[in-house]
């Protein structure tokens, strides 16, 4: 079977080895170079700001005066965004991790990834120029929607239990994420049709005036509620994705144990899965908060950019990111205003970096724990 063996091919070992050494050296140099360049951001900001800060070139009273409203605005915007995003994202994550079929889940995730990819400038535009004036005109209806949506879902659930079993199968809880959509759309339309009448009866037809007179709340067109809604919309998908990963990563054994004891899926989720995944969910919320703090375009377009320090959700604010975007191009390099804005950037950088590191550490611990518990990583 075996033919005369061809002699061993000529080799060029020296050249190959030198090339290998050269390539390795180049990759090392290039890799380290790139990584240094990426990490240089923090170094640059620190070098620009810290000498002035420590050397007393920046007066602390001045810092307090100019940065406090922006810091306040940043926290306020992030708070309302998270207030909106957390329930929505976690609810969606729980539903898709534990109730949805595998097929539906594999469609759901890319859909929400699309949502994450929507450019901030588009969301900001729609929020600032379409949603804000619209909400101002339909204030009563919009506020009513906040109440009607959850109630509508519960109503649907109650009605579901009285359906014949064939109907219950068709409109199963696993697919509720889909068939509730038209129902909610219908409810929203109804609410908006009915609300002007209610507004007339309850608030004399002018909720804005009523808010001003009774509660002393000033209503600005572009306000924290709008920003919260828009930014919550933008932040929600990433919180969802991370929380979903944490929940669906919980080893199946844990849940099966509870099921075997006769717990419903929700009880299993609440008593067993959720505590196991809590660190992952915490990490998801942290990363979401980091996003909300740094988002620029949405705030710039939907907040009104007034450096107010009020608690009211119906008034605007100015965040650090928006402040930098507006003022920095006009600040003279090296001037005090320039340094102050760079300090704001450093704060943003430090905060998001810390929050993300924390979240990353928590997540990697959790992954190890899941592996230890015998689940898929």
């Amino acid at each position: 079977m075996i033919e005369p063996a061809p002699v061993s091919p000529p080799s060029r070992p020296l050249w190959r080895r030198q090339r290998d050494r050269l390539a390795t050296a180049l990759i090392t140099a290039g890799g380290i170079g790139v990584i240094v360049a990426v990490l240089a951001i923090g170094v640059f900001l620190a070098m620009e700001v810290l000498p002035a800060l420590l050397g007393g070139a920046l007066d602390s009273a001045r810092i307090r005066m100019s940065l406090t409203p922006m810091a306040w605005g940043t926290l306020k915007a992030a708070f309302w965004a998270m207030a909106f995003a957390i329930p929505l994202a976690l609810g969606a994550a729980m539903h898709s991790a534990l109730f949805m079929s595998q097929r539906l889940r594999s469609r759901m995730k890319p859909t929400l990834e699309m949502m994450e990819a929507l450019p901030g400038v588009v969301i900001g535009f729609v929020a600032g120029l379409v949603l804000a004036p619209w909400v101002e005109r339909h204030l009563a209806g919009s506020l009513a929607l906040l109440l009607v949506m959850p109630l509508g879902v519960l109503l649907a659930a109650a009605a579901w239990r009285r359906l014949p079993s064939a109907g219950r199968r068709r409109l199963s809880l696993a697919r509720a994420g889909l068939w509730l959509v038209p129902w909610l759309a219908l409810l929203a339309t109804l609410t908006l049709v009915v609300s002007p009448g209610l507004e007339t009866r309850l608030f004399g037809g002018d909720l804005r005036g009523w808010l001003d007179a009774e509660l002393d709340l000033d209503y600005a067109t572009r306000n924290a509620m709008i920003v919260g809604l828009a930014m919550g919309f933008a932040v929600m998908p990433s919180v969802y994705a991370l929380a979903e990963d944490a929940l669906s990563g919980v080893p199946g054994r844990l849940g099966e144990g509870a099921h075997a004891l006769g717990a419903t899926r929700w009880q299993t989720l609440w008593r067993v899965v959720l505590p196991a995944a809590a660190p992952g969910i915490f990490a998801a919320v942290m990363i979401g908060a980091g996003r909300a703090v740094g988002e620029t375009m949405i705030v710039l377009m939907a907040s009104g950019n007034t450096a107010l320090m009020s608690l009211s959700p119906f008034e605007g604010m100015r965040t650090m990111a928006a402040g930098i975007a507006v003022e920095l191009p006009e600040a003279v390099p090296g001037s005090e205003a320039y340094r102050l804005l760079l300090l704001a950037a450093l704060l943003l950088f430090g905060f998001t970096f810390l929050v993300n590191t924390l979240a990353e550490v928590v997540r990697s611990r959790l992954r190890r724990r899941y592996r230890w518990l015998g689940g898929s990583p």
């Binding site: 109730f99 419903t264 920095l328």
Partner: protein, 521 residues
């Protein structure tokens, strides 16, 4: 909970309880919002190009207005409703909007003869066409029967003249000017230049000669020079097929033309061009460097505590706000490197900066830095997925480490790299905040690529789709009038970003599936 028990009284099936339903509701609500947003953008963005019907409204008090209905709102304190009409004719009325109380409307008609003219200045005209001809001839002309056909013929002729003029400028004038720049004493070129100028002047005179006599719905007359009229149509006389063709033409012009009227009309071609060019430059920068860093981290670096720390740090940089990258770009690229470049090479033009101000290069660099973590993370994931047997197989054949890397490992990681680059491009295309600091322009008269050496002008400012949205929506003179255009731009941007993301998702899926198929008996 008690209420829930009430709901569940009797022999009803056991249920998961209210919270499970609320969780399902949040999925539904998210989908509803996403769908609503996309529908809104798509509807308003595409609807803008549809030649909508124009109505003539007669009020009880005898006022007559012609325009397109835009929306309707209840009046203050619930006394009826009022309707907003877009009426155009900024030169006659000083405004383009009319709010009319619905109860006071006496009659609404749709006369077929109403024309809409799109003009270079003052926006649209809505009214009637009386006559077309020389300025003197139509001064007080009686309504002409054939005015509409004549107008269309004249507009077509004008289009040809414009094309001719543009061709002359491009092929005759510019080379001559460059020739003269190089050799100011070239008398032949000087003469040729004078001739070309004269021809263009003649053409312009020929275009300027004629006017259209127009009459608004309430009877005021207007002489409109024809060379300022871009297009004319009679929406009420158009068949659906005609309208569809006009809609297609409108979409095409939106994509292919430059902006007019302070960005509130016309197209977005320079913004598309600028966005694509910047993203292209950015991916040229980010791909090699991102891959290099990922290869270093995953293949070359000693896998220890430090490498892990660096890896986490790089990952976290993806979460640092984009505006911070903008600050870095402004401080380091624009003021730092750009300022130095100006001092060394462009000192003759100082104090007006060349590279020391925002521009294409600095924007691309900043966005490349911003998207580096995306590419590094995706590539690293791809590298880590390649089975160790593949590497050992190559090594066992006598391959060096570099040969293993370049012939086996990297080719297998290409889909992952591609996914990373596409995600980076999608992120960069939609990112506006850093560009506010490092170099977009509201209106860039010159695109950064032209026939002049060095052809690609890295120092120039450029237009960007995302910035165009921000600027037009917030700093335009008439935001209401520009809104449809902003919606169309937003739709374009969203489409680009979504298509890119879908491609990335598909690639990733395909890649994972292919690796799964590898037989593992």
């Amino acid at each position: 909970m008690r209420a829930w028990r009430w709901f569940g009284r009797g022999r009803l099936p056991r249920s998961e309880g209210p919270w499970a339903w609320l969780a399902a509701g949040s999925v539904a609500l998210s989908l509803l919002m996403l769908g609503g947003l996309l529908l809104l953008i798509a509807g308003r963005g595409l609807g803008h190009f549809w030649p909508a019907a124009v109505v003539q409204v007669e009020m009880e008090d005898g006022r007559v207005v012609a325009g397109r209905a835009v929306r309707e709102l209840p009046l203050e304190r619930g006394k009826g409703r009022e309707r907003l009409y877009f009426t155009g004719n900024r030169d006659l009325d000083g405004q383009v909007w009319h709010w009319l109380p619905v109860d006071d409307i006496a009659a609404i008609e749709r006369p077929a003869e109403l024309v809409v003219l799109e003009r270079r200045r003052h926006g649209e005209f809505i009214g009637r066409l009386i006559a077309v001809g020389d300025r003197e001839a139509v001064r007080d002309a009686a309504p002409q029967q054939a005015a509409w056909t004549r107008l269309q013929a004249r507009l077509a002729a004008l289009d040809q003249l414009r094309a001719e003029r543009e061709r002359l400028r491009r092929e005759g004038l510019r080379p001559l000017i460059r020739q003269l720049d190089a050799d100011p004493d070239d008398s032949g070129a000087r003469r040729a230049l004078a001739e070309a100028n004269a021809r263009i002047y003649d053409l312009q005179q020929a275009m300027r000669g004629e006017v259209a006599l127009l009459e608004s719905a309430d009877g005021r007359r207007l002489h409109q020079p024809l060379d300022e009229v871009l297009r004319a149509w009679r929406p009420n006389a158009m068949s659906p097929a005609h309208k569809l063709a006009a809609w297609g033409g409108g979409v095409w012009r939106f994509l292919a033309e430059g902006p007019r009227d302070g960005n509130s009309a016309g197209g977005v071609w320079p913004a598309i061009f600028g966005t694509v060019l910047m993203v292209l430059l950015m991916s040229l920068l980010v791909t090699p460097f991102g891959v290099l860093a990922a290869v270093y981290l995953n293949e070359v670096a000693h896998q220890g505590r430090w490498t892990n720390l660096v890896r986490i740090a790089v990952r976290n940089l993806a979460g640092v706000p984009s505006i911070v990258y903008g600050v870095f770009g402004l401080g380091v690229f624009v003021y730092g490197i750009g300022g130095s470049l100006d001092e060394w090479f462009f000192s003759d033009t100082l104090p007006s900066p060349t590279f020391g101000t925002g521009g294409l290069l600095w924007a691309s660099l900043t966005l490349a830095l911003l998207t580096l973590p995306v590419v590094i993370v995706a590539t690293e994931e791809g590298l880590a997925r390649i089975p160790v047997e593949q590497r050992e197989g190559a090594l066992a054949l006598g391959a060096t480490r570099f040969e293993t890397l370049s012939r086996v490992v990297l080719p297998m990681a290409v889909p992952a790299m591609l996914t990373g680059v596409i995600l980076a491009v999608a992120r960069a295309a939609g990112e506006v905040a850093p560009l506010l600091l490092v170099g977009v322009a509201k209106l860039a008269p010159q695109v950064p690529v032209d026939g002049e050496f060095p052809f690609l002008h890295l120092e120039r400012k450029f237009m960007h789709l995302g910035y165009h949205i921000y600027d037009t929506a917030f700093h335009g003179s008439d935001v209401q009038a520009a809104m449809p255009l902003v919606f169309a731009t937003a739709l374009l941007l969203v489409l680009v970003v979504l298509v890119l993301n879908l491609t990335a998702i598909f690639l990733r899926h395909h890649f994972r599936a292919r690796h799964g198929v590898q037989p593992r008996p």
